[in-house]
Amino acid sequence: MKPPKNHQKQHQQIPKPKANKPIKEILWVSLVATCIKLLLIPAYHSTDFEVHRNWLAITHSLPLSQWYSDQTSPWTLDYPPFFAHFEHFLSFFASLVDPIMVHLHHGLNYKSLPTIYFQRLTVIISDFVLVFGIYRLTRNLGYKERVLIWVLVIFSPGLMIVDHLHFQYNGFLLGMLLISISALEEGNDLLGGFVFAILLCFKHLFAVAAPVYFVYLLRHYCRGGLIRGFGRLVIMGSAVVTVFAAAYGPFLYHGQIQQVFHRMFPFGRGLCHAYWAPNFWVFYIIFDKVLAFLLVKMGFNVQAPTASFTGGLVGDSTPFAVLPRITPMITFGFVLLAIAPCLIKAWREPQPRMITRWIAYAYTCGFMFGWHVHEKASLHFVIPLAIIALKSVEDAKHYFYLSIVSCYSLFPLLFEAQEYPIKVLLLLLHASLMWIGFSSHFATTARKTAESEQKRYDKTRFVIGWFGKLYLVGLLAVEIYGQLVHPILFTERLPFLPLMLISIYCAFGMMYSWMWQLRQIIKLH
């Protein structure tokens, strides 16, 4: 890890070019992306589109006290209050665009052109929070690093697929996360904690990183003796409490608070989402299947499970044939256990420059071991990791695989033929930009640091090893199997098999990423 540090210093010494106007340039990059997003407006969108439309209708037509109890549509409001307020804010404009869109009953499954344009535009516009976040984070970096990171984040194929095709507001939420991280990185802990608290009131899934925030802020912000520390703890505490009070207070007042929490934490869902996210539980399930199969072969009487992994916990039935059943508490324990090393690190040496890594790692743990994880959750760590992708060659290599795997694991979200070339092109374009950017970045820095030492030069160069190549070729093989071979072999039968293959194959990549991040965290000081 030492050479990279040198590079960084060297880069910092280069006087920042005065002629550049970073705001203008980042705007340029993001506006180019915006043009692509505009073109994608009529493309396929998932039921999440109707979910958000329904939330517009709920917040527009009903008083606050009924937001979380309405059941007109099955897509009930299950995000925290700030997000509901955000929808409320949007619904004001929505009602001007097309009043039926915000009508609780007539609006159900309403898809007029203005509705589609309006909703897509809200995502496109709210994405500028992400642009601001990434701008704030990179403003102290060298010019080249900065531009490369912008491109990595703004043209992230995962974000494009999930936000601008599938339909969600991740760009906006991740933007807030980046603002919070940038505040922490520059030592402004109070602002960082405050923004994170706000983020939690927008989407509670981000709470996975809360333990890291807690430990870090406690040790970094609240230090300097008992009295000063306590004073700071009070300041931070009151900031966070204010945010939560603003969010949940009104619902408490209306006696709705239980209903709000009930909606936000639907533990009635299964261990896995309909399409299995590529995480640890995929291995667990497969292991169970294999064991059951072997036991049956050996003559044991194994009862076939009656419940499915994706369904809720109904009675005592278990989806597993042999292995013990997994409950939400167990996954919770796993996640905490996995985060523990990073918490210990944060407790011992709370350093701002490590915080991005820790937060990303916490989200990785949540993704790998969490309950009912969506494949989209991988964006929560892929996007923050882009910021540190240029710290060292290893980081760059890891990010290269991770972002490809994460984007590929999102492919099944878009299953219609029309979007197929779009998702492939988005991935290819991003991968080639990444490859070109990383290899030229590390070629130049390597030349600067180790001109004489050929060995070190090789080590600091961005090259994809044979194992990495093999993995990527495997990815291609999985895709070819799913698109071409499977339909020929089975025609319409076993439609889940290609999906399962993608899940399993990507789970290996994700597992590697998790272990690699863990190792980095333990290793780095």
Binding site: I14, P17, A19, N20, K24, E25, W28, V29, L31, V32, A33, T34, C35, I36, L38, L39, L40, I41, P42, A43, Y117, Y143, K144, V147, L148, V151, F155, A417, Q418, P421, I422, L425, L426, L428, L429, S432, L433, I436, G437, S439, S440, H441, A443, T444
Partner: protein
């Protein structure tokens, strides 16, 4: 997405300050790859929008025409493609492009039949529209584009920048992106639905071949373009003038001309072979290519006939026969000066300007011009993007405006806005170019005025209902505005060509003096 990845010279001081510096050290190939991928992405994204005539029986639009040609070529023998018969009703989108278009339809028809036989079944497929059918049709355009237009543009940029032209590499990449991401071409081919990428692709390749002194190869390529769309004849005077002028300066002019002539003739014979069994057959095909019965102009095209028809009612004053002659005479006489100048001073730059001015004179004066024909002058203008950025930008803006009513009918306003924006962004990309910044002169105010009024016109056209007495008022205003700008460009290019002549005679004189 970086379309312009710029490869700046690493030794120059400002390599650090270039937005594209992260891509630099990998050289031009990397940049080509990224721009190409981006250009394909834009095309695919445009292709999810509606095509012309979607869901509008009984005649639909260009999409149905192309599909119908696939149906005809696939199911009938070659000889009957251009003949009216019970199964081939020429009134319903009869084939009216030269044989290469027919062969291309046949090949694409095979592709469609493999995946969706219903979509090209004889007769029963009329007006066939389906999700998969649209996708397959879109992919045929995309494939043609990627296989013909893209390589041709790469060829052009390589040739254009080999040798004499040096300057920041990022400029080359910018130029590449400008030609490849021409908003008008993308909107017409991948939105409206046509295969201009094929004939324009052959033209680009022909120009590149000729610029690299492979005249015979270039002539063959241009003949292919001509045989895909007869509109490629817009460029013919420039090709002829430049090649003829070049031959005259060689040792054995007669032999050189003969070689080129044979190459062209040979290509024609090969392409028209199925129709050469009798004397009448090729004439019958030819008569299909010249739709004189459709009148001298249609809709509101920003050309001479249509614009002046506000004052002079051409269609009422003259018979079609007379108009044919009038249009022929005016077209020839307006492109003649440019051609003569090329013969007298055949230089590479002069050739590119000649292409632009002859395409414009055809656009203004020839018979039956469509809005889409502005794509032809736009192509040589994009070749000149580095040398004449203002001309290129201006022509693109007003070409877009002139196609706006058409694209509005096709419900392509959203991609229009997105591509307009993308063009403005890419044109103004933070890139180092070989430095011809547009000079800030007294024209600035005028430029802003024109641009603002063109933007306002878009909005007015969309939002305001025209007065009942003049339902086409806004179309007419747009047409007048565009015509005036095109005409200004036309005058400018001709002037430029005069300068080239003066320049070349000067050099000759200097040489003599020495």
């Amino acid at each position: 997405m970086e379309k312009k990845k710029k490869a700046t010279n690493p030794t120059s001081d400002d390599s650090e300050s270039n937005l594209w510096s992260f891509l630099t050290p990998r050289g031009t190939t990397a940049s080509f790859v990224c721009i190409t991928l981006f250009a394909i992405l834009v095309r695919v994204a445009v292709s999810i929008h509606p095509y012309s005539g979607a869901g509008t029986p009984p005649k639909y639009g260009d999409y149905e025409a192309q599909r119908h040609w696939m149906e005809i070529t696939l199911n009938l023998p070659v000889k009957e493609w251009y003949l009216n018969s019970t199964v081939n009703d020429l009134k319903y989108w009869g084939l009216d492009y030269p044989p290469l278009t027919a062969y291309q339809s046949y090949i694409h028809g095979l592709f469609l039949r493999y995946f969706d036989p219903q979509s090209v079944a004889l007769f029963t497929s009329r007006g066939y529209e389906s999700y998969i059918g649209k996708l397959l049709m879109r992919w045929t355009v995309l494939l043609s584009d990627v296989l013909i237009f893209f390589p041709a543009v790469i060829y052009f940029v390589t040739v254009y920048y080999s040798g004499t032209h040096d300057g920041p590499k990022s400029g080359n990449m910018w130029h590449f992106a400008m030609i490849l991401l021409n908003p008008c071409l993308i909107l017409i081919d991948h939105g409206h639905f046509q295969y201009n990428c094929i004939s324009l692709g052959f033209t680009v390749a022909a120009v590149s071949a000729i610029l690299s002194d492979r005249d015979i190869f270039g002539s063959i390529l241009f003949t292919l373009a001509l045989n895909h769309k007869q509109m490629s004849a817009y460029f013919a005077p420039a090709f002829f003038g430049y090649l003829f002028g070049k031959c005259l300066r060689r040792q054995n002019p007669f032999l050189e001309v003969l070689k080129l002539g044979l190459a062209v003739l040979g290509t024609f014979i090969v392409l028209w072979w199925p129709y050469l069994y009798s004397l009448e057959a090729p004439l019958e095909v030819l008569s299909r290519l010249a739709p004189f019965e459709r009148g001298i102009y249609e809709d509101y095209v920003a050309n001479f006939w249509c614009t002046t028809s506000v004052i002079v009612k051409w269609k009422r004053l003259f018979s079609t026969q007379a108009l044919r002659i009038l249009s022929l005479v005016s077209t020839v006489s307006t492109c003649l000066p440019s051609m003569m100048l090329l013969i007298l001073a055949p230089s590479r730059s002069n050739f590119l300007f000649g292409l632009l001015s002859s395409a414009l004179s055809f656009y203004f004066f020839s018979f039956q011009v469509h809005e889409k024909s502005i794509l032809l002058p736009l192509l040589p203008a994009s070749f000149l993007a580095i040398d004449e950025p203002l001309i290129f930008r201006w022509l693109t803006y007003f070409a877009l405006l002139s196609m706006f009513p058409l694209l509005r009918r096709d419900e392509l306003i959203l991609p229009y806005i997105a591509l307009y924006g993308l063009f403005v962004l890419l044109y103004n990309a933070p890139v180092q170019r070989k430095d011809i910044r547009e000079t800030r002169s007294h024209f600035t105010t005028l430029k802003y005025f024109l641009i603002t009024s063109s933007l306002l016109l878009h909005i007015v056209y969309l939002m305001v209902t025209p007065p009942r007495r003049y339902p086409y008022l806004f179309e007419a205003v747009m047409m007048l505005l565009c015509f005036s700008q095109f005409f200004f460009i036309f005058m400018y290019t001709n002037m430029k060509q005069w300068e080239f002549l003066k320049l070349s005679s000067q050099t000759v004189r200097e040489k003599k003096n020495i």
